[in-house]
Amino acid sequence: MRGASAARGVAFFGLLACLPAFNLAHWVLNMLVFTLMYAVMSSAWNLVGGFAGYPSLGHAAFFGLGAYAVALWFQHHSIHSGYEPFWMLPLVGLLGAAVGLPIAAIAMRTRADVFAIVTITLLFVAQTLAFNLRSITEGAQGLAIGPAPFAVRTFERPFYYVLLGLLAVTMGLTFASMRSKIGLSLASVRGDEDKARGIGVRVTGVKLLAFSVSVGLTAMVGGIWAYYEGFIYPQFAIDPLITIAIVLMTFLGGRATLWGPILGALVLEIAQQWFAYSFGGSKFYLIAYALVFLVVMLLLPRGIVPSIEDWMRRRRRRQSVDAVEPTLAASRSLAKGSV
């Protein structure tokens, strides 16, 4: 079992690491960069929204925080080498986590739908600040970092590999938490928080930990995005659509699973880009995008990965029953044949 999951991880990351070597077109690589961004963010969101069961709608605020942190730093410092901004990322992550901690301490006193509303309010507060704190953020004018000094032919590669590394870190953290008592504690919080508190689970601690780590990772993606784009505007840096996308992706793939958010990001981001490409400038692609989501939710309401796991679980059990009771299995197939 452990061998299989390790093999899956190696195959997945090995394949993704080879992709840029195939001389893909720029638009494909650009799409892959965005897919990886969303994969990291969905996977990070899953720690709070999936494992802890706290549906945060405020994660885009931390994406914006990371983006502005990087952009502001390079207003006052020049970039000496193309890789320099990437070395800042751990600091950006720590900043996001540090800002997230007190916010979580307050917001996580509420639950479920109220928590969702509190966190989406946070998102709009952050956006309003970005628009109006002109002395710092330049308001609607936005901030320019300048294009990253990479060769045009392989421009996307550094971003792609940094994001791939960050995805490995995020999935590694997720996997480690699932294998530890942190994951067990988070599952009990998701199941029945009051009961969990009453049996001595460190409810507040694990909730705050999950939230900080989650928004720290999200801020790091924001930092990469700002550098990739070369300029940021408040309406794109702190965008409710980002929040909605990562929530949808995680729901689609399956909450509280290791691979669900990654699968959701692959399906939805590629579908969205493809629809946008084939329907051109019209907004029809948004309708197609919604349709994909509706169909999947209708057929697999708990998301893709949990539905498949359920199906395999049932199949395994049926097989084990058949193995134990061959006569029963034989009579069942006989009965089937006679109908």
Binding site: M178, R179, S180, K181, I182, G183, L184, S185, A187, S188, R190, G191, D192, D194, K195, A196, R197, G198, I199, G200, V201, R202, V203, G205, V206
Partner: protein
């Protein structure tokens, strides 16, 4: 020596309703004490206040010679005061074994340890055997019958090696065979040194198992004594039958 649990003048008000209204009683160590009373007499609210799920408006709770009024439920649990709920509360998406392990009352450093360590497996294994849940250890709790869930919830609170266990209607909604099983488990654990405080409506269960019996009416104690005297006490009859 003081009692294991001392409740003194406890009051809990919800709006205009005084759910607990100056309740005072004591639970002596190594007893199986029953807490009975008509519907709405404040038994469950009292449980919630004692175990830290609700803060009292007045009064004190002392547990093991320490004032624990208004303490957090998790802290009390780790100190050895645990409870079950009227409607069994287990974690449906966790396995039976995980439901036991999660109740182990871990400190900070253990959080980073394995989800189920060998020591956990051993500890949970004893309880699984004792409660005859070993065969379903790997099933999700959601797949258990209601009676099995009640057993599981009971077994789980024993993971922390409590001194006092509060059971809220342990026999409600379970079949007669399981009631006997429940009774046996309580007796065994009592013999091993655990004190029980039990809210229960099944009077024959109470009469067989508990001594003393405390009777609550309108949020305060009206009787405390051996079970043989409960049925003849005029105040109790009055409370149950109405004057």
């Amino acid at each position: 020596m003081a009692s294991l649990l001392d409740v003194d003048g406890l009051v809990k008000v919800f709006g205009a309703v005084r759910a607990v209204d100056g309740a005072s009683f004591a639970v002596e160590a190594n007893t199986i004490t029953a807490l009975i009373g008509p519907n709405g007499s404040g038994k469950t609210t009292l449980f919630n206040v004692i175990t830290g799920y609700l803060r009292p408006d007045h009064g004190r709770v002392r547990f093991a010679d320490r004032d624990v009024t208004g303490h957090d439920a998790g802290k009390l649990y780790r100190r050895g005061l645990s409870r079950t709920f009227q409607q069994a509360r287990v974690f449906p998406q966790l396995s039976v074994q995980e439901n036991l392990v999660v109740a182990g009352g871990y400190d900070w450093r253990q959080l980073f340890g394995r989800r189920i360590s060998r020591a956990d497996r051993e500890r949970a294994g004893h309880l699984l055997d004792e409660f005859r849940l070993a065969g379903v250890a790997d099933l999700l709790a959601a797949e258990l019958s209601y009676g099995q869930r009640k057993l599981l919830e009971f077994a789980a609170v024993l993971m922390s090696e409590p001194r006092l266990v509060l059971l809220d209607e342990p026999t409600a909604g379970v079949n007669p065979v399981l009631i006997e099983t429940m009774e046996r488990h309580i007796r065994e654990r009592h013999a091993a040194g655990i004190t029980f405080l039990i809210v229960e409506h099944d009077m024959s269960f109470v009469m067989r198992l508990c001594d003393p019996v405390i009777v609550l009416d309108r949020g305060r104690q009206i009787f405390a004594g051996p079970p043989s005297e409960v049925q003849t006490n005029p105040l109790v009859l009055d409370a149950y039958l109405g004057a």
